[in-house]
């Protein structure tokens, strides 16, 4: 037998991964990406003549719990009907036991890449406001995402913002099976097989003691292995981290205060909800006082001048012009 060439090896890896969905409805095309649990493929839905995205678990579920995770993600997506959340169309199981579901195909790029072409801070913040709106909607529906990070936020060609990968989401009021029994050791994510080899993948939850979420983006209480006890403020933390990444290293003081409050270590020091955070961003954008920052009299004056600078300039222009007319108008 000839040595398998790199090309043949790559082909074998591809064709042995490529899912064969039951029936003739879906035709699988190229791989779009991978998440913590599986791979996402572009596919054509022949029945409805449209392109969809199909997410397929890499392996058959190792346990009922893992199976439950993908099913729960599908159910969560099905119940969250919102323009910022990808709708799900279909769910099933491959002949080899791998679970899959079909969802709307999002043609966009991850938030971190999308903002590379958006240099203006207000425009970035407006994108962020849409993200907050979606997260708040989920919270009102009793769902906490628990893995908010730029890679899980897609920005479409028309500026639409979509929150992806609800695989580790928690439904408030629904107990989760096999919650982590103890805080994980620092190396838990590595030892569990480097689910985070790209430095950004969500850690696995199949082993007791591992952490749900992505290191660097998840709230401290979540990183401490108490993922099952978190509330919407864990997502506020994730939003805070995203905001931090969006505003750069030297944001205006009031904005820095908003970021600091959103990503405070203690949940009680954060905004209580995503909408409270959004309201402060909105206030920042409109130049009014933000709740996260107590300003001095001079700062307040400076902000008011900044906020109304065009009107003030026009008034000044009027006064100057009137003064000039008064002094030299008859010459």
């Amino acid at each position: 037998m000839n040595r398998l060439s790199d090309e043949a090896l790559a082909h074998l890896r591809d064709v042995t991964e490529r899912p064969e969905l039951p029936g003739d409805r879906y035709e699988i095309h190229e791989r779009l990406g991978r998440g913590g649990m599986g791979t996402v493929w572009r596919a054509t839905d022949r029945e409805l003549a449209r392109d969809v995205a199909v997410k397929v678990m890499t392996l058959p579920a190792a346990s009922d719990r893992e199976r439950g995770r993908l099913q729960r993600e599908a159910h969560i997506l099905a119940r969250l009907e919102h323009p910022g959340i990808v709708p799900i169309h279909d769910i099933g199981q491959l002949a080899d036991g791998r679970l899959w579901y079909a969802m709307k195909l999002v043609r966009g790029v991850a938030l971190d890449r999308a903002v590379e072409s958006v240099s203006a801070l207000p425009a970035r913040l407006r994108l962020f406001l849409r993200l907050c709106e979606t997260v708040e909607f989920a919270h009102v529906q009793g769902v906490i995402h628990r893995d908010l990070k730029p890679a899980n936020v897609m920005v479409g060609p028309f500026g639409e913002v979509l929150v992806m990968d609800w695989g580790v989401a928690k439904v408030l009021g629904e107990p989760e099976e096999g919650e982590p029994a103890a805080p994980p050791s620092a190396g838990a994510a590595d030892a569990s097989g480097g689910a985070a080899t790209d430095g950004g993948a969500a850690t696995d939850s199949t082993s007791p003691g591992t952490v749900l979420g992505t290191p660097g983006w998840m709230a401290p209480e979540q990183a401490a292995g108490r993922a099952h006890t978190v509330d919407p403020r864990a997502d506020v933390f994730g939003l805070g981290r995203i905001l931090h990444a969006l505003v750069g290293s030297e944001p205006p003081r009031r904005l820095a205060a908003i970021v600091a409050r959103a990503e405070a270590s203690r949940p009680e020091d954060r905004y209580g909800t995503a909408s409270e955070l959004a309201a402060d961003i909105d206030r920042f954008l409109s130049g009014t006082a933000v709740s996260a920052y107590r300003e001095g009299a001079l700062e307040k004056l400076g902000r008011l001048v900044e906020r109304h600078r065009v009107a003030i300039l026009l008034l000044l222009a009027y006064v100057v012009m009137r003064s000039l007319l008064f002094l030299w108008g008859d010459r």
Binding site: L314, L315, Y318, M321, R322, L325, F326, G329, D330
Partner: protein, 123 residues
């Protein structure tokens, strides 16, 4: 506050202030200052009303500035011509047109910036 109403109020206030400056800028007209203030208020009211309607749906501040200026000029140029001819004093062109244009800009800008945008029909 909706934009036409805000435009009317701004036009009235700025018109009154603009008219009353005649006391200082045109001392020869002091006996007629009440009439001037009344006329300026009326002009401001009409400029504010027309501008407020014209920009009631826009989100563009620049558009507010341009519309306010054009509407103000449309009202002030004829008045300036009439006054300049009546008093045979060319300085009225500047004394009326320039302040009128700037107050028009101010009304247009402030109407868009601070007034409530009208929702598109059916929204």
């Amino acid at each position: 506050m909706n934009r036409p109403l805000l435009g009317v109020l701004l036009g009235l206030v700025l018109g009154a202030l603009d008219g009353s400056t005649a006391w200082f800028t045109a001392p020869e007209l002091r006996p007629e200052v009440l009439g001037i203030v009344f006329g300026s208020c009326t002009k401001g009211l009409l400029v504010g009303l027309v501008t407020g309607f014209a920009v009631r749906k826009t989100g563009s501040l620049l558009r507010g500035l341009v519309v306010g200026t054009i509407v103000a000029l449309a009202f002030t140029i004829p008045i300036a011509i009439m006054n300049a001819n009546y008093y045979d004093n060319a300085t009225y062109y500047w004394k009326i047109i320039l302040p009128g244009a700037i107050t028009g800009m101010l009304v247009g800008y402030a109407t868009v910036r601070y007034g409530r945008r009208a929702q598109p029909r059916g929204a």
